[in-house]
Symmetry: C2
Subunit: 194 residues, 2 copies
DNA sequence: CCTACCGATCGGTAGG
DNA sequence: CCTACCGATCGGTAGG
């Protein structure tokens, strides 16, 4: 019984991981259940012993990584300067993108294929998330820590720049993850400092 | 005869424009020729009197906007400081994203669905494009106009941030295009200045 | 986990 | 520009 459960969940994990890799490469709509099954080495019909539907796979990938991001922001040290907070956010997202490359990419590029209910949930979660970071930037401006740039643009640029690391990953890694992170901070925080 | 040609090409334009809108919303793989035909008000089979294949539509959308970007960079005033050049590039891309919203979005998000030959062409064109901008950043660093941030990261961040404007467009436009452009420059150039 | 199969839909063609 | 249609493939189910 315990063995069965363990087996099942590890198989499900394998499906999710393989699906994330394929969704990132060919997109959600461009990946068929037969492609996915073949990569895993089973028949397409057998996938349904572990998952309920194709859309469930997408949901699990996206909401799992979204939860990690949300929790990190909620548990952020409320002490510290706005600059420290934004810097730690840039470092966190850069690490997430690099360490959870496949699922992070799927989240930022394939969320629009969630079905209606889950799509609404994701969009409103993301809006809340962006608003929270915007308010940190706004505090920094009010504090005179930052120059007066629209917080909305700053947050958009930071999150978009992290997304752009997908392209770095795909090519030969001429720079280490640490150097990339350091330069992300330098460029994106630099444009904020007075 | 002239009338026929005019009619044909305007119909093709309508197909390309409608396709760009749909590819951006649902992705290339998620858009069917029947969806596209219905939006235009004809039968799917009739599309093929104006275009040869679905992939040809994607190619025309992507390479048309890619050409605009390439030409702008090639025709850039070689005088001026590195700072002026990078600033003008940020302004140009921001304007392109806003003015040619649909096709620019399709280029940056759907290029991986080009078929093998065109994909190779696009990737090597883009690599050349990025390298050229990197060398402008490098000159600025050598000049002591810019602080020493990895040019590769700077270019990635600029182009990714412009891409992120897709998300701005979709929501209510609380800020004008001019204000967005100004803030893009402030934040992204700001992180570069000494 | 498989075989066998479902109805729906895909990109595209023939022929008018 | 349409009707009629092609073979291939889609997500998913039944039954073992």
């Amino acid at each position: 019984m315990a063995t069965t459960t363990r087996k099942r969940s590890s198989k499900k994990e394998e499906i999710l991981k393989t699906a994330a890799r394929m969704f990132r490469e060919k997109g959600y709509a461009g990946t068929s259940m037969r492609d996915l099954a073949e990569k895993i080495g089973i028949e397409a019909a057998s996938l349904y012993n572990h998952i309920h539907s194709k859309s469930e796979i997408l949901e699990e990938i996206i909401f799992s990584i979204a939860r990690d991001c949300r929790e990190q922001l909620d548990n952020m040290d409320p002490a510290g300067t706005s600059l420290q907070k934004i810097e730690s956010l840039i470092r966190f997202h850069t690490k997430m993108m690099i360490d959870h490359f496949e699922s992070y990419s799927v989240m930022v590029s394939e969320w629009m294929h969630l079905d209606e209910e889950k799509l609404g949930e994701f969009v409103s979660e993301r809006r809340r998330y962006v608003k929270k970071i915007e308010s940190i930037v706004q505090q920094g401006i009010d504090n005179k820590e930052f120059k007066p740039v629209l917080p909305y643009v700053v947050v958009l640029n930071i999150l978009s720049s992290v997304r752009g690391l997908e392209f770095w990953q795909k090519s030969a890694k001429t720079h280490s993850a640490e150097i990339m992170e350091e330069n992300m901070v330098q460029h994106l925080i630099g444009g904020l400092k007075l």
